[in-house]
Each structure stands twice: as C-alpha cells, then as structure tokens.
C-alpha cells in the first residue's frame, strides 16, 4: 500500500495536534541538578581531561616497556661486566684452559731442567 503525500499531510496534522507532552518536572529539579554538579566537581577523577583516559591505552604498554628496558640495561647481566666476570670466576674456579696452561708450563720447565742437566 502506497504512502502518498495526502496521507503524509494527514499524519503530520494528526501528530501536530496530538503531540505528546511530557509530565511536569518534580519540584526542585534544578536544585537536584545543582547538587549533582557539586558532587561531580568534588570528585577529582571526573575533572581529569577526557584525553587522559584514552591515552592510558598506550601509556601503560609504553611505560611498562620503558621500565623493563631500564631494568635490563642497568642490571649486571652482561658477560663483559668485570664484576660479573670476577664473581663467576670465584664461583666456578679455574677454567680447564687455565689448568691445561699450568700443566703446559710445568712440562716446559721440566724439559728445560732436563736439557740443562744433559749439558752439564
């Protein structure tokens, strides 16, 4: 069924004539609004800029990443840190290469002593 301009005009007139009217506001509505505004003002978090809360979305991950980077950067994890090297050396004792090195030196000195005795 088509809805022509004649029906449209009749409906518009009907709506205009019988436009619903809202019930009256309760007494003291404005005072209630003022009280609500005062309460709203006293809550500091409601006065924070509206841009702050969306910025938390990126502030939290970026801040966390920055803190973690700082911790790793300053923590003594590097193998080139002399203090770490020293601590490791104390904990683990001499390296096998050092032991071998000592043995090699012993053999060399023994060989030298033998050759000196031979000459004598």
């Amino acid at each position: 069924m088509s809805f022509d301009s004649d029906k449209e005009k009749k409906l518009e007139a009907f709506l205009k004539k019988n436009n619903p009217i809202p019930p009256d506001a309760k007494l003291g509505e404005y005072q209630r609004i003022l009280r609500a505004l005062e309460n709203n003002k006293s809550s500091w978090w409601k006065n924070i800029s509206e841009f702050f809360w969306p910025s938390l979305k990126w502030l939290v991950p970026v801040g966390t990443a920055a803190i973690l980077t700082f911790i790793f950067w300053t923590a003594p994890f590097s193998k080139y840190d002399p203090e770490v090297e020293q601590a490791l050396a104390m904990m683990m004792g001499p390296y096998p290469s050092e032991i071998n090195g000592d043995l090699e030196e012993d053999w060399l000195s023994l060989a030298e002593m033998v050759s000196q005795q031979d000459r004598i």
């Binding site: 069924m1 809805f3 029906k7 449209e8 009749k10 409906l11 518009e12 009907f14 709506l15 205009k16 004539k17 019988n18 436009n19 619903p20 009217i21 809202p22 019930p23 009256d24 506001a25 309760k26 509505e29 404005y30 209630r32 609004i33 003022l34 609500a36 505004l37 709203n40």
Partner: protein
C-alpha cells in the same frame, strides 16, 4: 540574530567560568526541550534522572562547545545521545501510560497522545528518532542530520519510511486519518 549569538556566547563564557547563576538561565530555557525529546524517544520511568544526566553533560561539555553549531542543536544532540544510550543499555523502564501522564485537558487528547507514544515504541530506533525530531520537535532535516550524524538524504528517506510505518500502526489501532 548576531546579537542573540553574542548573548549566547557571553552566557557560555560565564557558565564555563563556573557561574551557576547563568546556568539556571540555560536550564530554564532548555529544560522543556530536553524533557520533551527524552520523553518522546524513550518514554522512561526515570525521566527526571535522564534530564539531570543531560544537564550534567551540558555543564561538563560547555567549555568545549564550538560556536560553529547552534546551542539548541548541540543540546538536542546530547539529549538524543543520552536517550539512545539509555535505551541501548536498557537503563530505561518504560512508563505505563495512564491518565495522569502529561497535561491533558480532554480524554480524547490523552487517548491519541497515548496511541502516538505506543506507535513510536513500535518503530525501530532509527525511525523513531527521525520522526520525533522532525515531526514532533519540528526541527529541520539539516538539523536532524547534524544531531544524529547521518546525511540529509538518509534523514529524508528515514522520515518517509517512519511516517508510513506509523500511519499503518495508527490505522491498525483504529485511528481514521
């Protein structure tokens, strides 16, 4: 017109500075408008709460209000958004229609107004919005487009379909138009 704009500008500046006295002026001028649009859009039991919510939003939003748009349109937009939000969050409890609702002089008037509200409730949210704003609040199509953020052509099309639907609903209810 320019003088009126200047007055509104002054009013907004004073309210933004925390002047509650001037805010009462704004409230008195626009309270009925806000009340009316919320009542017709969602017909809630908690109408007073929603009106209060809208005025708090107006108070908080005024410092950011741009004079590029009309104050009335801006207030309509806040009221419309609050009503739609309340509907979507199901914060609205529909008020039972009774004879004590509204200022009614005649029983027939009350009957027809009730039918219109019932008819509006049967429409989709999109159709109801444009019908309330265009036909009942008598805003221009351009103003409605600005309020609900859709193109003018879309508003025109929705108004046409909304009217056709409401016409059918009213006819089924026995209203002879």
């Amino acid at each position: 017109m320019e003088k009126q704009g200047h007055q509104i500008n002054n009013l907004i500046e004073q309210i933004s500075g925390g002047n509650l006295k001037n805010f009462s002026e704004l409230y008195e001028t626009h309270a009925l408008l806000v009340r009316s649009v919320i009542y017709k859009l969602c017909h809630p039991q908690n109408l007073d709460d929603l009106v209060q919510e809208v005025f708090i939003k107006i108070w908080n939003g005024l410092p950011k209000f741009r004079m590029g748009s009309k104050l009335k349109t801006w207030i309509y937009r806040i009221a419309y958004n609050s009503a739609v939000d309340a509907l979507r969050k199901k914060k609205v409890v529909f008020q039972e229609l009774d004879e004590t609702t509204g200022k009614v002089e005649h029983r027939q008037d009350w009957f027809y107004r009730t039918l219109i509200l019932k008819g509006l409730n049967q429409l989709t949210e999109e159709h109801r919005s444009v019908l309330v704003l265009c036909c009942l609040e008598e805003l221009t199509v351009e103003e409605v487009a600005e309020i609900i953020h859709v193109p003018v052509g879309t508003v025109k099309s929705r108004v046409h379909h909304a009217k056709a639907n409401l016409y059918e609903i009213l006819k089924k209810e026995g209203v002879s138009l």
